[in-house]
């Protein structure tokens, strides 16, 4: 007697949850985009809102800024090439060779992602500025002339971005390499090809779709990046679209519609890239899925493994250890120099950083937002992932495109749309932490959905179907089957969202309110208007807090899993 009622309830609950989640995602994404487009087409009275006239005048003015567009494309391309090189080489070493300490190195390779590019940019500007850079000061002290390196250049921007995005490329390319049958490489070597020739002629073509996918994703990230260009580009009179936009809206009188048009044009390029990426990823999945079982094996590279070990260690040194040591060194000086006099040492920067109410409050807010974004995000994005990949609801393909939309829009651009959208929203959330929470949930939709759906796809659908056949309603299936299986993936997504929120800059810089400050924009503000040394202290404090939070989280999850095991 109960079966028919059950059949009637199951699709209903599923549909309500599905449409509710899809509606929430739609509002989060499309509502700000509408305002962004409206601003880009505003050619009326600059003081009036909503616009008094619409037109394409702002887009027609863009050719005047073609040099900035070209700068953006050039530096993004250079950074992408370098990031891929770092990512490919390290991924090959750690997944295909018998390099010592592989597991530790693999974990260390992910650390640059946990640090902000902003921190890297500060550190490398302290190291590589032509006059004051520590490296150049040492160089001159050793008898060298002029500057050994100059990173306050477009190359410097690309270098810093590549170092930090290199770890993303590493993860993506490494995943492809691990799923590749090593028999192909072995066959190449058996017929007499050298290791290098095997890598170039066998490994590289096999991972090409993965590398291209990573290239497009990294390029899209580079197009929207802000902090490295701000720190290393502006002193060299070098602007990219994001820094130019920031400048245009900060000046008096502001040129907001022009900035919005710039952002929309960037968004068009990024959307094209994302479209290509999705096409490539779709194609790749057909190539790699194979019914043939294989055991991943690594090549014995002999003594070369120590050289390869040094390559990986050198990457970690450049992207993590050196920046942190540089900031630590600068943060205990009054005026940061390579050879400080005794009177130059001070702990005042830390004292100031800890006593500034804004910093303390910003750190607290960032942690609170990180926890809230990660916790709500995991539920929301988990449901979205389930909706896209597990439900049979109509329009789930469209939802997938919708939630990936923020990936195609630089966060700074998105923040303008969000600012205009939520400032007129009847519920007063503008200037509060709620707005930042909404902003984070929006801009991190692609990150969360991609992470969770990656795990979800590994779980056989038949397990859920089995529960359904046993009569379990939708909610019960989710709770007792899908969620426990997804747990490790959800925890990983939680951690990723937490870190991404705490280090977020692009969206936060425009949306902070007097009582809703977060730490990364506060660090940028400090760089703008306080001192490099205090900024270094603040950046280190932020990194330390993230590291502590991560350790606590990992300890808690480990303990929880131990109890679960018992």
């Amino acid at each position: 007697m109960q079966a028919p009622a059950l059949r009637w309830q199951v699709p209903s609950g599923q549909a309500i949850a599905g449409f509710g989640v899809a509606g929430a995602a739609g509002i989060l994404v499309l509502y700000p985009i509408f305002y962004l487009m409206q601003a880009a087409l505003d050619v009326g009275d600059p003081d009036a809102r909503p616009p008094t006239a619409y037109g394409l005048g702002n887009f027609e003015a863009l050719p005047q800024y073609s040099e900035i567009m070209l700068n953006t494309l050039t530096v993004s391309l250079a950074a992408t090439v370098m990031a891929l090189l770092f990512g490919f080489v390290t991924a090959w070493i750690l997944s295909r060779t018998n390099v010592p300490g592989r597991r530790t190195l693999e974990q260390l390779m992910a650390v640059p992602y946990y640090m902000t590019p902003l921190l890297g940019a500060f550190a490398w500007s302290l190291l590589g500025a032509p006059e004051s850079g520590f490296v150049n000061q040492v160089w001159r002290a050793l008898g060298g002339e002029n500057a050994l390196i100059n990173l306050v250049t477009p190359f410097g921007i690309a270098w810093v971005m590549a170092l930090f995005e290199g770890s993303v490329a590493f993860v993506m390319i490494g995943a492809v390499m691990k799923s590749m049958d090593p028999a192909l490489e072995e066959a190449s070597q058996v017929i007499g090809a050298s290791r290098l020739r095997t890598m170039l002629r066998v490994t590289l073509p096999l991972v090409a779709p993965g590398v291209l996918g990573a290239a497009i994703l990294v390029f899209a990230e580079m197009l929207g990046s802000f902090s490295a260009a701000l720190v290393l580009g502006n002193p060299d009179r070098f602007y990219v679209v994001t820094t130019a936009m920031y400048q245009l809206v900060s000046q008096y009188p502001p040129r907001i519609p022009l900035a919005a048009a710039m952002g929309v044009s960037l968004f068009a390029v990024m959307f094209l890239m994302l479209f290509l990426y999705r096409r490539l990823i779709a194609g790749r999945s057909y190539v790699t899925i194979s019914g043939k079982a294989f055991r991943p094996r690594v090549m014995d590279v002999g003594r070369l493994r120590w050289l390869l070990f040094a390559v990986c260690v050198f990457y970690v040194l450049l992207s993590v250890a050196l920046p942190l040591m540089t900031l630590a060194f600068a943060s205990v000086q009054k005026i940061a120099v390579a050879f400080p006099a005794a009177s130059n040492w001070t702990l005042a920067n830390y004292q100031t950083a800890f006593t500034m109410n804004a910093v303390r409050a910003a750190l607290g807010n960032s942690l609170l937002l990180g926890v809230a974004t990660a916790s709500i995000g995991v539920v929301l994005m988990g449901l979205i992932s389930w909706l896209i990949y597990r439900s049979r609801l109509p329009g789930s393909g469209f939802i997938e495109y919708l939630v990936m939309f923020p990936q195609a829009v630089p966060r700074l651009v998105f923040a303008f749309g969000m600012m205009w959208a939520w400032i007129v929203f009847p519920i007063p959330i503008y200037g509060t932490l709620w707005l930042l929470l909404i902003a984070y949930l929006t801009v991190f939709l692609p990150l969360g959905v991609r992470t969770i759906s990656g795990v979800m796809l590994q779980i056989d659908k038949s397990l859920e179907e089995c529960a359904q056949m046993c009569g379990a309603p939708w909610g019960y299936r989710i709770r007792t089957v899908t969620m426990p299986l997804l747990c490790p993936g959800l925890l990983a997504a939680w951690l990723l969202l937490f870190i991404a929120s705490v280090r977020e800059l692009g969206a936060s810089i425009l949306l902070m309110g007097p009582n809703a400050k977060v730490v990364t924009p506060t660090i940028v503000e400090s760089w703008f208007a306080t001192s490099a040394e205090l900024t270094a202290a603040m950046a280190l404090i932020q990194t330390l807090v993230i590291a502590i939070a991560m350790v606590v989280f990992l300890a808690l999850t480990r303990r929880a899993s131990m109890y679960a095991g018992e």
């Binding site: 003081d47 004051s132 070098f238 000046q251 005026i335 804004a358 400032i423 503008y430 208007a529």
Partner: protein
């Protein structure tokens, strides 16, 4: 026109008003003439006078401050006020004047009124804000300590809480004293090409420098200056940070306040006051219309206008604003504003009208 007879008459009238407001008795007699002036007697709080209801202000309990000043300076102002009134919780937003004005304008256009006090470093947006009715009119009992030209016209919208001014500065590690620039025109020497810094177009002081030197030397000066390929930065701290580290040899707009701060840190820098004068911009403070904490806002204006507030503004190392109070003591360096020849715009219509040209030219010069 500020220089016209009509204007002078207005200023005298306003000076009279300010003096009258300082005295409770005179205030009552002047009530008819100045309908907006508070009718009640000012009360003495700490060591200054206020028309604000202090008990009510403490009940309001919060103070939202939008300020152009650097992070440390803004935080210090909010904290100093909060220290004097511990029952009032202070918070602030800091941004360059242009960005700050855009933010408050966007918020107000959307019907959001979250700000009590606005402090700007540029007359142009302050006058625009006044024109749009953005300020609450408040005649402080402390206004008598100021000349009428240092109050808004008409008075009550905002006042000049201080002046910041800039000259030239150079790195003594990179430049010998005899080779250092002495005048504004010395900046055009080819030896400073790619070795000079200035501020970006959102800076009020940079606009004043451009306006005043253009008046003195014509457009040709800035055209020649652009060929020197200077680098533009957001704040005075960035300029001096670079100068102190030798990244730039010369700073083309060196604020005296930042010079004092960096000199104290032991930086190898020197300040030069060109004979033709030093561009100066006022720091303008006013109560924002529809402020969420109106009594707190009034209390803050009185505090900031008073000798107590002015002493703080003038001596805090992150501020060092020259006080315009007629009875102000010298700055911590022992200098008074009157020791410097300051260049400030007098023809406001012309000054405001040239803003668009400045922004366009300056952005173009800096590669934007």
């Amino acid at each position: 026109m500020p220089g016209s007879n009509r204007d002078k008459l207005t200023r005298r009238t306003l000076l009279g008003a300010s003096v009258a407001l300082a005295s409770p008795i005179a205030c009552l007699s002047a009530r008819g003439a100045y309908a907006q002036a508070p009718a009640k007697t000012p009360t003495k709080v700490l060591d200054f006078l206020t028309y604000a209801d202090v008990a009510k202000a403490e009940q309001e309990g919060a103070f939202v401050f939008y300020c152009h000043e650097n992070e440390a300076g803004t935080a210090a102002i909010a904290e100093a006020f909060g220290k004097d009134f511990p029952k009032i919780k202070t918070s602030y937003v800091r941004a360059q004047t242009g960005a700050l004005y855009n933010k408050i304008s966007t918020e107000r256009a959307a019907g959001r009124f979250d700000v009590d006090i606005l402090q700007l470093s540029d007359l142009a947006p302050a006058l625009d804000f006044q024109k749009k009715g953005g300020y609450e009119i408040y005649h402080s009992p402390e206004a008598g300590g100021y000349k009428p030209e240092h109050l808004s016209n008409p008075a009550g919208a905002f006042f000049w809480t201080g002046v910041t001014f800039g000259g030239l500065a150079y790195s003594t590690a990179k430049v010998k004293a005899e080779e250092a620039p002495k005048s504004w025109k010395d900046l055009l020497d080819p030896k400073w090409r790619n070795a000079m810094s200035c501020k970006i177009s959102s800076s009020g002081l940079q606009f004043v420098q451009w306006y005043e030197l253009r008046k003195l030397y014509g457009d040709e000066y800035w055209q020649a200056f652009a060929k020197q390929r200077p680098r533009g930065f957001d704040s005075r701290v960035q300029l001096f940070d670079r100068l102190a580290k030798g990244d730039d040899k010369v700073c083309a707009l060196a604020e005296y306040a930042a010079y004092v701060l960096y000199k104290e840190k032991g930086a190898a820098i020197e300040f030069v006051a060109p004979e033709d004068g030093l561009p100066a911009t006022p720091l303008l403070v006013g109560v924002v219309d529809k402020a969420p904490h109106p009594e707190v806002a009034k209390l803050f204006v009185d505090w900031a206008m008073s000798n107590r507030g002015q002493a703080f503004y003038q001596s805090n190392p992150h501020l060092i604003y020259g006080s315009l109070r007629t009875d102000a003591p010298p700055m911590p360096t022992g200098k008074r504003l009157s020791d410097f020849k300051l260049l400030t715009p007098t023809d406001y219509a012309d000054y405001l009208g040239s803003r668009d040209k400045f922004t366009k030219d300056w952005n173009g010069m800096l590669g934007l």
